[in-house]
């Protein structure tokens, strides 16, 4: 029942908000949403205590028969892979609701959509039925489209439509692959049972896996399907960016791990070398593109493309260590990118620009944004993988786990990781260090004025919380590892036993 509550709270909350008979002012809507999300977070924390960390399989399973003729049953479960993501979702949706301060227009709709997205993401992470996952995956599409296109920046219509089309295509690819998978076994079954060569030829498996990979690759996003992401981020408001980068992209990597690797182990081990190369290309492309950006938000967005590529590399290697690293990477990327997007949002709100050619010396303690600047430096360090923070642990595990299997791809990804340091140092160096420019740097850009005095500590509380948790995971990785390890180990075991079992002709 606990898992169902995780869905019911946001969905019923959204319903309640939308049906509230009187006009709802912004403050009430926001507070209601925050209270609901706090309850959701507490419930997710309760799941940790109910969770048996030694068991690598699905736990707390619950279900109902729904549409049996369609093979669509309501079945939920949680394991070490989905639990951290459910937690991240609870934390980041709460943070997004807290930082949604200036939603003057249509607050009711805004917070409803936020709750729906949170519920849908929970549902997708918890589903034990392919069609149920697809339902939740599609459910999150329209609310996010609305969040971008109603509360976004000036070019929001274009960005939102692009997001919509890319994600809709991704959904259709995934549905096609799921249908193919379900019928491959002979009997229609949308439960999560891996497919073997006995049921489906290797060619068919590779075809379906490719559809699945492209579908989720759009969502992750991986090069060359990433083009919607920078646009969507640039036009989305700060809370939406937090959600998008922190939670929704994880649907893609989760899908690759759970459905790509988990359901097509044989085809996966055939494709793995190619996937590692693809991951390395994606990492390098994301990092290089980030260097070229002058918009801070676009830079962070491209860094997401790079950093999510690591997860694919780790999944391709599929060793226990690399898989553990991939979960760490998902969690730490969620926290770090959310932190960075929030800080960029603060800068944008204070200065009215995100242009790195214009911003200078924001770290100035008198008239600048010293707290924001400090947090930004911390976030950037974490993202570049400096020891003592979450980014370091995940990258270390990732590269350590992958290098034996794919040395070249791993080395290339490490170069990408080094490039992270380059572009984020550029960002910090340009925007925060140096003299605070009172006169315009660029004569065409107009005078730069700091409109809002340095934000209060309370306003920065969410950022501080996120920064704190980044350091917490960095210093005490066991907290996360203990939850996840048994699940990733059993996944890796599936892959390694398989490579022994496979007939010689099939192994790569």
């Amino acid at each position: 029942m606990t898992l169902t509550l995780l869905l019911l709270i946001p969905f019923l909350g959204a319903l309640g908000l939308s049906l509230w008979p009187r006009t709802l002012c912004e403050v009430v809507a926001r507070r209601t949403a925050i209270v609901l999300l706090i309850i959701q977070l507490l419930l997710s924390l309760r799941v940790i205590f109910l969770f048996d960390s030694t068991d690598g399989g699905m736990q707390l399973q619950e279900g109902l028969y729904w549409l049996s003729s369609l093979g669509l049953d309501y079945r939920l479960g949680i394991d070490g892979l989905s639990l951290p993501l459910v937690l991240i979702n609870a934390v980041l949706t709460l943070v997004a609701a807290i930082v949604s301060r200036s939603i003057s227009q249509r607050p009711r709709l805004y917070f409803c959509l936020l709750l729906v997205i949170s519920g849908a993401v929970n549902g997708a992470f918890l589903s034990q039925n392919l069609l149920l996952f697809f339902l939740f995956y599609e459910l999150e599409l329209i609310p996010l489209w609305l969040l971008i296109s109603v509360w976004g920046g000036s070019n929001r219509a274009y960005a939102a439509t692009k997001f919509l089309i890319f994600t809709a295509v991704s959904g259709m690819l995934i549905l096609g692959a799921f249908l193919g998978l379900a019928f491959a076994t002979g009997s229609v079954d949308f439960s999560l049972t891996p497919v073997t060569t006995l049921q489906l030829s290797m060619g068919g498996q590779i075809l379906l896996l490719s559809a699945l990979l492209i579908g989720f690759g759009i969502k992750v996003p991986l090069f060359p399907f990433h083009t919607w992401l920078p646009d969507a981020h640039t036009e989305a408001s700060t809370p939406v960016s937090v959600l998008l980068a922190g939670v929704l992209l994880k649907l893609g990597t989760y899908g690759i791990l759970r459905f790509g690797m988990g359901l097509f182990p044989e085809a996966w081990s055939v494709l793995a070398p190619g996937l590692a190369i693809w991951a390395a290309i994606s990492v390098l492309y994301g990092s290089l593109a980030a260097i070229a950006q002058v918009d801070m938000k676009r830079m962070v967005a491209y860094s997401s493309v790079g950093h999510m590529g690591y997860v694919l590399l780790a999944a391709a290697a599929a060793t226990p260590v690399s898989l553990l690293g991939s979960v760490f990477q998902m969690v730490s990327h969620g926290l770090i990118s959310a932190l960075l997007f929030m800080l960029v949002g603060v800068v944008y709100k204070a200065t009215g620009t995100r242009n790195l050619d214009v911003l200078r010396g924001l770290l100035n303690p008198e008239r600048g944004l010293p707290l924001t600047g400090s947090l930004m430096i911390l976030g950037v360090m974490a993202s570049a993988g400096l020891p003592g923070m979450a980014g370091f642990i995940s990258e270390f595990l990732l590269f350590r786990g992958s290098i034996e299997k794919f040395p070249i791809a791993t080395l290339l990804s490490m170069v990408g990781s080094a490039l992270t340091a380059v572009y984020f140092l550029l960002l910090v160096n340009r925007a925060f260090f140096g003299r605070l420019a009172v006169t315009p740097v660029d004569p065409n850009s107009g005078p730069l004025d700091i409109r809002i005095p340095a934000s209060t500590l309370v306003e920065q509380l969410p950022s501080l919380m996120l920064a704190g948790s980044v350091v917490f995971i960095g210093l005490w990785p066991t907290s996360l590892a203990s939850i996840t390890e048994s699940a990733t180990n059993s996944m890796a075991q599936l892959m390694s036993t398989l490579s022994i079992v496979l007939p010689i002709g099939v192994t790569p």
Binding site: L70, L131, E138, I142, V150, T161, A168, L175, G176, V188
Partner: protein, 526 residues
């Protein structure tokens, strides 16, 4: 009645006694149609008493007739099968299900119509009578199992539809739509008749579908194929499949909007019932041929309907092309010819009833308030009319197959059935075109929801105050809210609907035969 005469001649050999005759007539099967017919006659009589009495009494009479028809249909559900009118009509579950869809679509259409008709200043009683006549035709068509009864009911439906399309006499566009519909429709009927006459000839004088099916197995292939093409063209015309769709956008744009609502659901449902009866029930020995042709039609419909819909600026025209695309999706179920395929068809028609009529309810309401039908005029509507905005958004999302709406489950079921039957091409094209369809449905929602107040269209800026107290408005609101509710919640609670769809297939002998045949074929292949 006509079939009775046609077959009395046929039954002349045995010369049944009167007791046998009433038994063989089995006229109880058309009790629902009789209820509608009675409502029609009473409406016409009431109409004689003057316009005032008509607008007071015609609506309850129609509700009574259609409600009684629905109740009688429910009573026929799963009842023992016996052919009526010497094989002219069969009230199997397929017929009951599709007749229920037709009757429900008429009921909802009437709820939507009163205000519209009243405002256009045309007589209410006549309008209701013609619509009910079309309903009787469509309902009998769903259960017809004889070429003669098919022809008569098809023409009853068609001729009434022409009249409905041209009901706005003073509007040249309405007359033009009616004339185009009439010319194309009559030509299609003539083509059907030519095919039927060939069938009559090559089967050695049989007009009922069961004996034709038997005779076709041994008859001359080329002529039979020719008659198949003729009959299929007419069926495709009725369900507006590409390339027999050209009439649809024009007729939809020119006709009164409530009529379009009926044509897009009721008439189309009857067309699909006809398609099932003739193609599945009769041309079984040409399974491969008609399935191939239907696959092509489905592909063309999905692609052309959905792609051309992108470019439309008129709401009704956009929905016309979208309905062509939707018909393409439904045809996937028919091509499969499996249990799931047929069930998915029935399910999708039922969900299409609610989502499409819900969308039409919103469009009718909008055009009543503003007189406009252009998509661009919906800009910024959320501020002025949240009900239309919400209702139209939900219905369009459902048509686009977004969860958790009803349309999502219907569409998934169609794709599921298609994939199970290895119709990969159809399913893949269906998936791609539903992305396209999401795009144009969303762009309407974008107009309504996303546009800022300052970007609102002139029509919306001068939006009248919302009142519901005019005659005919409460019923319109009831229909709108009802359809939208079913569309939004029906998906999650769609289990009974799935049961209903599968028992429709289970209670229909011709479908069971087809399933057994295709199952046997698959087993032979395997």
């Amino acid at each position: 009645m006509p079939t009775l005469l046609a077959d009395l001649g046929g039954a002349g050999l045995g010369m049944p006694s009167m007791g046998d005759l009433s038994l063989q007539l089995n006229a109880g099967a058309i009790a629902p149609e009789v209820a509608v017919l009675l409502a029609l006659l009473i409406s016409l009589l009431v109409d004689l008493a003057g316009e005032k009495a008509a607008s007071r009494w015609v609506p309850p009479i129609c509700y009574g007739g259609l409600g009684a028809a629905l109740v009688l249909l429910a009573l026929q559900w799963n009842s023992p099968l016996a052919p009526s009118f010497f094989g002219g009509f069969l009230a199997d579950n397929l017929a009951v299900a599709f007749r229920a869809v037709v009757a429900a679509s008429t009921l909802i259409t009437l709820l939507l119509s009163w205000r519209y008709v009243e405002r256009s200043g045309t007589p209410v009683g006549e309008y209701a009578a013609i619509l009910l006549a079309a309903t009787v035709g469509a309902m009998i068509l769903c259960g017809s199992t004889d070429l003669v009864s098919i022809f008569i009911s098809l023409e009853t439906l068609s001729v009434s539809s022409y009249l409905l399309a041209g009901y706005m006499k003073r509007d040249a566009r309405s007359s033009e739509a009616a004339l185009k519909y009439l010319l194309v429709g009559s030509a299609a009927a003539a083509v059907f008749l030519y095919g039927a006459s060939l069938l009559y000839g090559i089967t050695g004088g049989a007009t009922d579908l069961a004996s034709i099916a038997v005779a076709l197995q041994t008859s001359a292939k080329p002529v039979a194929a020719l008659s198949l093409v003729f009959v299929l063209a007419t069926v495709a015309f009725k369900i507006a499949a590409v390339p027999f769709h050209q009439w649809t956008p024009d007729v939809y744009e020119g006709s009164p909007t409530p009529v379009v609502a009926f044509l897009s659901v009721g008439s189309k449902a009857a067309g699909f019932a006809l398609a099932l009866r003739i193609l599945v029930g009769c041309f079984e020995s040409f399974n491969e041929q008609w399935k191939l042709l239907f696959t092509v039609l489905a592909l063309l419909s999905m692609v052309l309907g959905n792609v051309v819909a992108l470019a439309q600026t008129s709401m009704k025209r956009m929905l016309a092309y979208s309905s062509i695309g939707q018909a393409g999706f439904v045809m996937i179920g028919m091509v499969c010819g499996t249990e799931d395929g047929f069930a998915a068809m029935v399910l999708y028609m039922a969900s299409y009833l609610f989502m499409n009529l819900g969308a039409f309810a919103c469009i009718i309401l909008f055009s009543l308030r503003t007189g406009s039908d252009r998509i661009a005029d919906y800009a910024g509507l959320y501020q002025k009319d949240p009900l239309i905005t919400l209702g139209l958004s939900l219905c369009l999302l459902s048509l686009g197959g977004i969860p958790p709406m009803l349309g999502f489950f219907g569409k998934i079921y169609l794709f599921f059935a298609g994939w199970a039957d290895h119709q990969y091409l159809l399913v893949v094209v269906g998936l791609i075109t539903s992305v396209v369809s999401i795009y144009y449905y969303i762009s309407v929602i974008k107009m309504m929801v996303v546009k800022e107040p300052q970007e609102a269209s002139d029509v919306v800026k001068e939006y009248p105050a919302i009142t519901w107290n005019l005659a005919g408005m409460p019923s319109l609101r009831a229909a709108l809210v009802g359809c939208v509710l079913v569309t939004a919640v029906g998906g999650i609670l769609s289990n009974p609907l799935f049961m209903w769809a599968s028992s429709t297939v289970a209670g229909t002998p011709i479908l069971q035969q087809a399933i057994a045949a295709s199952g046997g074929g698959a087993a032979a292949l395997g």
